[in-house]
């Protein structure tokens, strides 16, 4: 599957408090509303201007902090097709796969704000169409690939009636 869209660049250590802050705790049971504020504390323009298919591009340790699954969920709900970063915090990474949001580890120094990207999930490549460079991303562990292909963890359990990961 190929994904195409514009890059929204963020720095290192983007925390779940940037993505889904505690001051909006009361919106956690209203995810479409919470999604209107996604990442606004890191870039106020982002939730207003992000378009379906766009990419969130971080630096090191993207998604550090709390276990709130609402963070990857609202990134996905905002229309983002994948998150690219040099590295991810553990819980965010696992949550993103569980909610069916691709998370790709690559050298994001090769991507600037608003670059046009094309991601080939099967081939493991990212074309930066603006800069004319091609990046590769590390393949996901087998277990996570299975979950992602089933459409997330809930869909996986629904399909098999159990965890079928071994």
């Amino acid at each position: 599957m190929k994904l195409r869209g514009k890059a929204w660049k963020f720095g290192d250590n983007i925390s779940t408090d940037h993505i889904a802050p505690g001051r909006l705790f009361h919106l956690r049971s209203n995810l479409p509303e919470l999604a209107k504020h996604v990442l606004e504390d890191a870039d106020p323009e982002f939730p207003k201007l992000v378009q379906a298919g766009d990419f969130v591009v971080g630096g090191n340790n993207f998604g550090l902090g709390s276990s709130r699954e609402h963070a990857p969920t609202i990134i996905k709900l905002a229309g983002v097709s994948a998150v690219l970063a040099k590295s991810f915090a553990r819980i965010f990474f696992r949550n993103a796969i569980n909610v069916g949001l691709p998370v790709l580890i690559c050298d994001t120094d090769q991507i600037d704000q608003h670059d046009e990207l094309e991601v080939d999930l099967a081939a493991g490549t990212i074309k930066n169409l603006t800069r004319g460079v091609e990046l590769v991303f590390a393949p996901l562990p087998e277990v996570m690939l299975t979950i992602l292909e089933d459409g997330g963890l809930a869909a996986h359990v629904q399909k098999h009636g159990d965890l079928r990961l071994e």
Binding site: N13, S15, D17, H18, P21, G22, R23, F25, H26, L27, R28, S29, N30, D41, N60, N61, L64, G65, S66, S67, R68, E69, H70, S87, A89, R90, I91, R94, N95, N98, V99, P141, E142, V143, G152, L153, A154, V157, Q158, D162, L163, L165, E166
Partner: protein, 418 residues
């Protein structure tokens, strides 16, 4: 080849020897959610027609993050959690009982357990020798219903600690120092294993502080061997029968060994906006502080309140500071009342709030104004954490917090104690 604590616990649970790097499907002993993550977990189970728990007596739904509720939306979420507990027989820990991780330590965690929680600081129970880790709502929902989850067995960093703390310095300074050294992502996906003479002599209350913050270096678990101190703590909680010894093998394989000598350690402070931005208190002394928060799953225990009371007793906090004190659990609150600490803190000017998370996550009870700074004994200082992205958060020990409340600016407790 010997096993690390993480390998040993998971091997016993899955019934065969496992090594770092392997994927395992593992039974779960205790599962927990809180009011920020529980509603999503409940809705997932409802959507899948799986409104049940494999082990309801050891599945706990906590209401601690927004407790008592400040808004109707959250009150409705609380109702959903109460209803789910009624339907499934799961345990509900309602408003005023305290912070999830404190209650898990007091009432549930056993050495050798596997504990999953929809809260990143679930790692706290590692202090009791439990493989305890944080996950998202869906992972924990599936764990609740199926009674199992999957893990990649983590590699381990062994943290060997030696030396005696000098007065005014303690476990919080040690863990802040370590996070500064490792970096906020220095131990991502890894297990931390705390060992050495300093840990052996350390009371459980301080061990819980260490394990609690393992996640701030990115770690999956923060484990401490189960020893006589673990037994003593469990006995004090009325459950000595839950004790068993647990130690890593002498020939276990570690990805990295980190040595720390605490005898020269100073009080440490983590400055905005990342936890690994750690400095000795002297470098930040004099920074104007508007609010001090003593509490949370990191440092809201009896010994923490005692330390603050010792510094503040018979004195008055600075007129331009709000001091917010939140006991971590009802048990802690009652013991602090009996010991007179609450009286001393209130007399010094503190505002005492119901056991729970208090202002820690920026939902209620102490939101900062634009440009204001808070010094907290909690574990995170990310931008926006106290409900306002235009606020600034410093993290430190209860001793530094009490000294800072007295002075109205970041202060070295050794000067106040002297």
């Amino acid at each position: 080849m010997g096993q690390t604590l993480a390998e040993k616990i998971l091997s016993r649970k899955v019934g065969r020897p496992v090594r770092a790097g392997e994927m395992v499907i593992c039974p779960v002993d205790v599962a927990l959610t809180q009011d920020g993550t529980g509603p999503l977990a409940v809705r997932q189970l409802q959507k899948l027609n799986m409104v049940r728990a494999a082990c309801p007596g050891r599945t706990v739904l906590f209401i601690d993050h927004a407790a008592p509720s400040p808004r109707k939306e959250l009150s409705n979420d609380h109702m959903l959690l109460r209803e789910f507990a009624r339907e499934t027989g799961c345990v509900l820990s309602d408003v005023g009982a305290g912070v999830c991780h404190q209650i898990i330590a007091e009432e549930y965690a056993r050495p050798g357990d596997v504990i999953i929680g929809a809260d990143s600081h679930t790692v706290t129970a590692g202090a009791l020798g439990a493989f305890a880790t944080g996950m998202g709502s869906t992972d924990v929902a599936m764990g609740i219903a199926l009674g199992k989850t999957w893990f990649r067995v983590p590699e381990t960093f062994q943290i060997r600690v030696r030396g005696r703390f000098s007065p005014g310095v303690g476990a919080k300074d040690l863990i802040l120092h370590l996070i500064g050294r490792l970096g906020a992502d220095g131990a991502t996906y890894k297990a931390l294993e705390f060992v050495g003479e300093t840990i052996e002599e350390m009371p459980m209350t301080d061990r819980l502080t260490l394990s609690n913050m393992a996640v701030e270096a990115g770690a999956k678990v923060g484990l401490i061997p189960s020893d006589e101190e673990t037994r003593r703590y469990l006995a004090a909680m009325g459950r000595e029968g839950d004790w068993q010894p647990l130690a890593p093998d002498a020939d276990a394989e570690y990805e990295r060994v980190v040595e720390v000598d605490v005898s020269e350690l100073e009080p440490m402070v983590s400055a905005p906006h990342t936890v690994d931005n750690v400095r000795p208190v002297g470098e930040l002394a004099g920074t104007k502080i508007h609010q001090v928060f003593i509490g949370s799953c990191t440092n809201g225990r009896l010994a923490d309140l005692a330390e603050a009371a010792r510094i503040l007793s018979g004195r008055t906090i600075h007129p331009e500071v709000r001091l917010i004190v939140v006991p971590a659990s009802r048990r802690v609150f009652l013991e602090a009342i009996d010991a007179g600490y609450i009286r001393e803190l209130v007399a010094a000017g503190a505002t005492v709030l119901a056991p729970g998370c208090g202002p820690c996550v920026g939902v209620h009870e102490g939101i900062l104004g634009d440009g204001e700074a808070s010094l907290n004994t909690s574990n995170r200082n990310f931008q926006g954490r106290l409900g306002n992205p235009a606020g600034f958060i410093y993290l430190a020990s209860p001793a530094v917090a009490a000294a800072t409340a007295l002075k109205g600016e970041i202060a070295d407790p050794r000067e106040v104690l002297a």
